[in-house]
Amino acid sequence: MADEALFLLLHNEMVAGLYRAAEQGEGENGRCITKLENMGFRVGQGLIERFTKDTARFKDELDIMKFICKDFWTTVFKKQIDNLRTNHQGIYVLQDNKFRLLMQMSAGKQYLEHAPKYLAFTCGLIRGGLSNLGIKSIVTAEVSTMPACKFQVMIQKM
């Protein structure tokens, strides 16, 4: 679908552009990551507002996480999260075995060093979405063989 392609390309450009800019300036580790994450955060906030407009109110945290894994993920990445795990103490691990943003890059360990910058935005997306649903969280990511990747959500108990 066009919209999907648009998102993918736009995202790639965003990453590339940001890193290019960073090379001119001092390329300190983390700065770009943080920028991307913040972009994602804002986008997440907006998206969740739209997506949840017509859904019933959520029962609890888990209910919300499910929504993120199903509806939210499907709308953004055209597929569901493949596996959601939690310790019921506010830590959730979302695993996507075919993560859209890594699909085009590699299948395996090749280019692994480039993976992080393509995850930052999505981390922000999740954090933004959750925070707009009233859940403060920290989202980190991990890839060992592309295009599979894990997102870890640590929820801040209010």
Binding site: G30, I33, T34, E113, M154
Partner: protein, 1267 residues
């Protein structure tokens, strides 16, 4: 008296005793026929009937119900039957039963039949079809009967006579009084039948009734229609349902009525009023609230019946019925909820219908009603239930509280000085409207009625009741977590206290509320509450708090300009009170008074030297609505000396602390709860995890470094409320600024100070004094500091270029950092000249003076006096903490003997090293350190500065010969980056040897030598007489940078000294190759003859004096060894390739050697080399015995080894020794030594000659054995 009878009486006309509606109402069943029989059966019947439930299928698709039937059996009277049009349902007989136990036909014919007929006719007359005939049989009777008909016959007869086609209308009940299974069965059958018939009757009659009711309702648009009448009709239905325990249905009836009425009111509001409605609009005269204690409030019902009810009456009655039913239905919480709606609704309806209500009347009504409802509910629930359902009742509580409050205000009970006369009158009227207390509550002490009466009776009583209510409400709200509501009630309470001039009680509530509003950021509420609190604090005389509050309000833009001004004035008034009252100052937090926006340093890097001037400019945003006269603004500064901290050295500070001098302060967002923006930002980083084995990437990802920070629970920050106990630090250091006016909005205030002690100064607090009031900013954040430093004077001398070159004038930069020293006129730098390095005086040298922060201050020309010993540079007058910079041209002259020698050695060593390793050209320049001692005005010690110069050139020499003629070649290489111009080169023989002259073969003209380039110079040696063994030469060439125009200054030339030895040619070696006899050319593979002729060119010389020389009778010979080597292996030398010859030492003595060589290739082949050595016997004794060839064969190699080395050797001595060493270790046994000649002693005149070799005809490869 039972209702049926009552109804009957009614029918008879005359006096109307009211029907008593009790819950004992039961559907009426009449009994005709044998009364005794019935009475005997009645107990069993009445007790058996309700036992079993029966399903009631109902019309209008209502859900079927199981109901337990009871009924009220009464004796049949014709009057009981309702006439046409009588709508009464409660008195309606639903079933008529005829009882008989007649069992013989005679009797039946005689009496019973007629009796039944009569009964039936009456029923028919009233068209009631719900009847049943019961025939009771008992065996007892049959006994004494003689002529008995089959028992059935009677029943049959009756059936025949009466129940045509509905035989089931006649049932048999056998032996009812016996306790037998048979009798049991018949009972059951009978009861079932009875129930069925009853229900049928209900369905039929109720259905009919409802139809009538509906038609009546449809008529409601017609003029004559009256709501009250209709009300009575539908309520009748409700009653019946209630009677049948069908409370739901009953409730529905009332709700319908409710809705209908409400609709009318609304429509009335919308304009079309039903005329009957106007009648509810009569002014309200009594407001004795709801009465819910009786199931039915007869008085009100009558009012409605007689169409005298007011709106309140109607509503009250309606609700009381709903309430009753709801409570039957175990739904008390719905009661409370509906009650609240009702009360609100009534108030609205009265408004809508523009009913005139005396002030306060409604409040009374609502108040009473609330309490009534609450008490009613309490009456039917236990404590636990009530507590669990506070959320349902609390609304009523607060409503009651509210109403009581307004009553209190209305009747002047909430004022400081009780009610006045008209308040009292009002109170009296209100109480009058309550009427007398109802009997049913008369004996309950806490009845709403009593409460209200008491509350209105006196100020104290009112307060008590009001407080009770309020506290109760607040507590309930708090318990169910409705904090905000609780606070609101609290604020009402506070208002009340304020009116009663009890501020101390009010404060706590106001503070509580304020906290909530602040925490949740509701600006308007904050403002409002603050205003109240300010008033409260004023009354309490809490000056500090009051002033703080005032400042908050004065800065609050939710208030009108005037209000703000007023509060601001409050502060100023206090501030300007004459200090005759004790002079204690009031300290307030500044943030509401003014906000610190920016702070600007000059110098911008906030670094200043001791005694230097520093200015600080604050931008203050005054929040006050009017200009404020300020006595003093002070910045409290904290001083600390950071000794031996590198970061505080003048250099570091002046270099690194380069801010633009402006510090911006975040302005605290008023209104937003802080929780929103106090989260630290995530620190995300890319993560690369490599596998320990091969460190290939294992996992990558994103990690967060400050999780611990973020996951910490946020505790609700209360930083917004006024900091209590503001304290000032001791003003050891402070920056002051006196007597100025703070205009509303932006103000710029600048402080000037002179730096004293070196160290770091931190701006801690800001304090604005207005009269007795001080506004203090407790912490200036972000941290603002300025640094003061002191510095020793110092001198730096550094070359402008990266390396100084010897011999040419170059600029050297002098930097004088004055530090704390002031340059007076006459202060000068004294350079003690080394004449190898004179400072070149240049009139237009300018010294530039910078401030320590590198801003150019001024420029002044430099006076330099040079005596032969000392150059003194007089420095311009410069204040402390400045930098003087100027450039001086210096030149290093590499000419003074000692330095020259030193240099020459170095250069020669260079040369040697080069000779050793040719393959890698070495570009390193020789360097010389030159020391200068400088005396500075600020210290008695003189500074020694070393400058390093590089010699740009490197020279090599070599000796060339042609026969006897000799040439000297000098190669000059430019190692520097620059390119130079070389001129007037010369070579001199230092040893004064008259007849030797050096004839230059070089162009006289100047030559340019580019970087990394070499130039060669050649001279021919000419002489006439005897030559010295060695020759001392001095090469010199003058140079100047090719770029620089000014040739004015005379530069010392570059010189190079060297010597050549043993350069005179002793032997001439000539080689010839002849083709074989008869052949014209040499052919490959054919032997040719090689002739070497060695000719002595000179007579005995000094050189020859060595052990090789053997002298016999004045005729000396020396031993030479020749050797033919062909490295190009073009030739095969056949036979001995070398040999020793003894050479007579005399001019023109010649020695010829023949040998055979064979060309291996065709073409022009170069001749094989012929080498000549001195042959020094080791021991003249036994050296002879040795077969020369034998060892030479072996030694060949050892000699060959050195061939390359010998090619161009500059120092023969060293060479020979080296060689001997080599050969020495080569063989253990003593051997003769070979000594090669120094270059130029032997001239090989056929080097480079070639001979044509033609290929042989037969091209077969021939074997040649080579020795």
């Amino acid at each position: 008296m039972d209702p049926a009878a009552a109804a009957a009486a009614e029918e008879e006309g005359g006096e109307k005793p009211p029907v008593i509606y009790t819950m004992e109402n039961k559907p009426i069943v009449t009994c005709a026929g044998d009364q005794n029989l019935f009475t005997s059966l009645y107990p069993t019947l009445s007790q058996q009937l309700p036992r079993e439930p029966m399903e009631w299928r109902r019309s209008y698709g209502r859900a079927p119900k199981m109901i337990h039937l009871e009924s009220n059996f009464v004796q049949f009277k014709e009057e009981l039957l309702p006439k046409e049009g009588n709508k009464a349902l409660l008195t309606f007989p639903f079933l008529h039963i005829y009882w008989t136990e007649c069992c013989d036909t005679e009797v039946y014919k005689a009496t019973v039949k007629d009796d039944i007929t009569k009964w039936q006719n009456v029923l028919k007359a009233h068209s009631s079809v719900d009847w049943l005939i019961v025939v009771v049989e008992s065996d007892a009777k049959k006994k004494n009967k003689t002529n008995i008909l089959p028992r059935t016959s009677i029943v049959d007869k009756i059936r025949n006579d009466f129940c045509n086609k509905q035989s089931d209308r006649c049932v048999v009940l056998s032996d009812p009084l016996k306790d037998s299974s048979r009798s049991q069965e018949s009972w059951n059958a009978f009861l079932t039948k009875l129930r069925t018939l009853l229900l049928m009757s209900f369905t039929k009659n109720l259905g009919k009734f409802e139809d009538d009711m509906r038609t009546l309702r449809e008529k409601r648009t017609e003029p004559g229609w009256s709501f009250c009448e209709y009300f009575m009709v539908q309520e009748e239905l409700a009653f019946v349902f209630e009677m049948l325990q069908q409370f739901e249905d009953a409730l529905v009836q009332y709700d319908e009525l409710d809705a209908l009425f409400s609709q009318y009111v609304v429509n009335f509001g919308a304009g079309d009023g039903a005329n009957w409605l106007t009648f509810f609009c009569q002014p309200v005269r009594s407001w004795n609230g709801l009465i819910l204690r009786k199931p039915i409030d007869m008085e009100k019902r009558e009012l409605i019946q007689n169409q005298e009810a007011t709106l309140l009456d109607l509503r009250s009655y309606l609700f009381s019925r709903q309430c009753t039913l709801l409570i039957f239905l175990q739904r008390p919480w719905e009661v409370s909820q509906r009650a609240l709606e009702l009360l609100h609704n009534c108030v609205q309806e009265l408004k809508l219908l523009e009913v005139s209500v005396p002030p306060g009347a409604l409040d009374c009504w609502v108040f009473l009603s609330c309490l009534e409802v609450l008490q009613r509910i309490e009456g039917c629930c236990d404590r636990a239930q009530i507590d669990a359902n506070v959320s349902h009742t609390v609304g009523l509580w607060s409503y009651a509280t509210e109403k009581l409050k307004s009553l209190g205000y209305l009747c002047g009970l909430a004022s400081e000085k009780g009610p006045n006369s008209e308040d009292l009158n009002r109170t009296v009227d209100l109480l009058a409207g309550l009427g007398a207390e109802r009997p049913e509550t008369a004996n309950t002490s806490q009845s709403p009625y009593k409460k209200l009466k008491e509350a209105l009776s006196s100020v104290e009583a009112f307060e008590k009741h009001y407080l009770d209510l309020s506290h109760a409400t607040i507590e309930m709200y708090t318990n169910i977590g409705r904090i905000r509501s609780a606070k609101l009630v609290g604020k009402d309470l506070a208002e009340f206290y304020m009116r009663k001039k009890g501020p101390q009680k009010a404060e706590v509530y106001l503070q509580g509320a304020l906290k909530t509003y602040l925490a949740e950021g509701w600006a308007l509420l904050v403002t409002h509450t603050r205003k109240q609190l300010a008033e409260c604090q004023k009354q309490l005389g809490q000056i500090e708090n009051y002033l703080q509050m005032s400042s908050l309000l004065a800065s609050d833009n939710h208030l009108t300009e005037d209000e703000r001004k007023r509060f601001c004035q409050e502060i100023l008034d206090f501030a300007n009170q004459q200090a005759e009252s004790q002079g204690q100052k009031v300290i307030l937090s500044m943030h509401s008074f003014a906000q610190l926006k920016t702070l600007h340093f000059d110098p911008p890097n906030a670094v200043v030297h001791v005694g230097g001037k520093l200015s600080v400019e604050l931008t203050l945003l005054s929040q006050m609505p009017i200009p404020v006269q300020v006595d003093q603004i002070a910045i409290y500064v904290h001083f600390n000396i950071e000794k031996n901290s590198y970061r505080k050295t003048a250099e570091w500070l002046t270099k690194h602390k380069t801010s633009n001098g402006v510090i911006n302060f975040p302005n605290e967002v008023a209104g937003f709860p802080l929780s929103r923006n106090n989260l630290p930002a995530l620190e995300l980083y890319e993560m690369y995890e490599r596998s320990p084995s091969d460190n290939s990437l294992n996992t990558t990802g994103i990690i967060c470094k400050n999780v611990h920070m973020l996951l910490r629970r946020q505790e609700s920050s209360t930083s917004l409320d006024i900091p209590s106990g503001v304290t000032l630090e001791d003003g050891a250091h402070m920056l002051k600024c006196n007597d100025l006016i703070l205009e509303p909005g932006i103000n710029k205030i600048s402080f000037k100070t002179q730096a004293k002690e070196p160290g770091t100064y931190t701006l801690r607090q800001l304090c604005t004094s207005v009269g007795k009031v001080q506004f203090v900013l407790l912490h200036i954040y972000p941290i603002v500091q300025y640094d003061v430093y002191s510095q020793e004077p110092q001198l730096k001398v550094e070359p402008m270029t990266d390396s100084l070159l010897a011999g040419i004038p170059q600029k050297v930069k002098f930097t004088v950092i004055t530090g704390h020293y002031n340059m007076k006129s006459g202060d000068a730098l004294q350079l003690s000249n080394a004449d190898a390095m004179p400072a070149l005086y240049n009139p237009e040298i300018k010294a530039v003076i910078y401030s320590n922060t590198r801003e150019k201050i001024s420029e002044s020309s430099l006076r330099i006096q040079s005596s032969e010993k000392i150059t003194s540079i007089s420095l311009p007058v410069t204040p402390a903490y400045h930098v003087i910079e100027f450039e001086l041209e210096v030149i290093y002259l590499p000419s003074t003997p000692e330095s020259a020698v030193e240099r020459e050695n170095t250069v020669n060593k260079e040369a040697h090293r080069k000779n050793k390793e040719k393959q890698k050209p070495d570009n390193r320049m020789a360097t010389v350190d030159q020391k200068v001692t400088i005396d500075c005005p600020w210290s008695i010690y003189s500074t020694i500065i070393a400058l390093t110069f590089c010699i740009p050139f490197n020279a090599k020499h070599s000796l060339l010969s042609a026969g006897k003629r000799k040439y000297v070649q000098v190669c000059v290489q430019n190692l520097s980056e620059l390119c130079f111009q070389l001129s007037d080169n010369s070579l001199k023989n230092s040893a004064s040897c008259a007849d030797l002259q050096l004839v230059p073969l070089n162009p006289e003209s100047q030559q340019v030598i580019y970087s990394k380039q070499s130039i060669f110079f050649v001279w021919e040696l000419k002489w006439t007489k005897e030559l010295p063994l060695s020759l001392q030469c001095l090469f010199s060439v003058s140079f100047c940078p090719a770029t620089s125009e000014e040739q004015s200054l005379s530069l010392k030339p570059f010189t190079y000294e060297f010597q050549v030895e043993n350069f005179f040619t002793l032997y001439n070696v000539k080689t010839e190759i002849f083709p074989p006899l008869g052949a014209e050319y040499c052919k490959t593979g054919s032997l040719c003859s090689l002739e070497v002729s060695i000719t002595r060119l000179a007579d005995l010389l000094e050189v020859d004096k060595d052990e090789a020389l053997t002298e016999s009778d004045g005729y000396c010979t020396t031993k030479l060894m020749y050797e033919v080597v062909d490295n190009s292996s073009n030739w095969a030398v056949c036979g001995k390739s070398s040999g020793v010859i003894s050479m007579p030492v005399a001019a023109r003595a010649t020695h010829k050697v023949h040998m055979e060589v064979m060309p291996l290739f065709a073409g022009y082949l170069p001749f094989p080399d012929v080498r000549l050595f001195k042959y020094l016997p080791h021991h003249s004794a036994h050296s002879m015995q040795l077969d020369a060839d034998s060892w030479i064969e072996n030694d060949n190699l050892s000699v060959d080894k050195n061939v390359d080395d010998q090619a161009d050797s500059s120092s023969i001595r060293s060479r020979s020794s080296l060689h001997s060493a080599a050969s020495g270790e080569h063989k253990g046994l003593p051997m003769p030594r070979l000594q090669s000649f120094s270059s130029g002693q032997v001239f090989n005149c056929s080097t480079g000659m070639q001979i044509l070799v033609v290929p042989s005809k037969d091209d077969h490869v021939l074997e040649v054995n080579i020795t």
